[in-house]
Symmetry: C2
Subunit: 118 residues, 2 copies
DNA sequence: TTACTTAGTTACACCGATGTTACTGTTATT
DNA sequence: AATAACAGTAACATCGGTGTAACTAAGTAA
């Protein structure tokens, strides 16, 4: 019986770890907004995202995009325009986030109603 | 056409807000682990959760539980035992998080494989 | 009488995430 | 010659989330 409990707790730990992995990838004040911006347009330039995501600074945008790239959620492509422009696009893996984001959005709406009544 | 874009952007903003509402409710280093602990056992006492959630301090546990209670995700019941014990339980609303958490866990597993290869 | 348990609270410190401002380098425009 | 656009980078300040340690209060056991 003790063995069963331990096994159960280990399953639990794995679950926790994987949830944490997901949350880590999404962590950062602007990540989800950035992903949504790119997602909506397919491809999106740095300055476009800067406009889309209300309140973000170029510093933070640059930082968050780098992290998203590290996590293989977006790709970065430099275009030989003048002046140079940079296009960001969701990877296939990044696109799988859409389900999660939709679920979060749906739950968020219900939650807001619960809490504020609106 | 300009009108259409504005409408679209407003939809986008609403989506962002509701995702943020959801994230806010889940934010905090220990919240998901705490929810999982309570969820697994149905009801769970303060000191039990303290043991379940590896690394959490009583200060943080108390704080996070308060926030979860404010967000109507858990209920707090004082039992007239000696010494007093306190039982925490997920609300119906709190239980609706299970879907989200499962999705996050599932995505996290895939994501970890992508990044680390394991 | 002292120590222990439960469920917290209080005071203090720290660090990392974020914000602000200014700057780079290249090219085109005025 | 000076300015603007693009995609950032660098230096500095700040603030909130988190950690640590000690403490409370009531009752029980040694």
């Amino acid at each position: 019986m003790r063995c069963a409990i331990t096994e159960f707790q280990q399953e639990q730990k794995k679950r926790m770890r994987s949830v944490q992995d997901a949350m880590d990838a999404l962590n950062g004040k602007w990540k989800i907004a950035i992903i949504s911006s790119i997602c909506c347009y397919g491809k999106r330039r740095f300055s476009d995202i800067l406009n889309d995501v209300e309140g973000v600074s170029n510093r933070m945008l640059s930082k968050e995009l780098k992290e998203l790239e590290l996590n293989q959620l977006v790709t970065r492509t430099v275009l030989a325009t003048q002046p140079i422009t940079v296009e960001y696009e969701l990877t296939e893996h990044g696109n799988t986030l859409q389900t999660i984001i939709s679920e979060l959005s749906g739950w968020g709406i219900v939650h807001r109603k619960k809490i504020t009544g609106k």
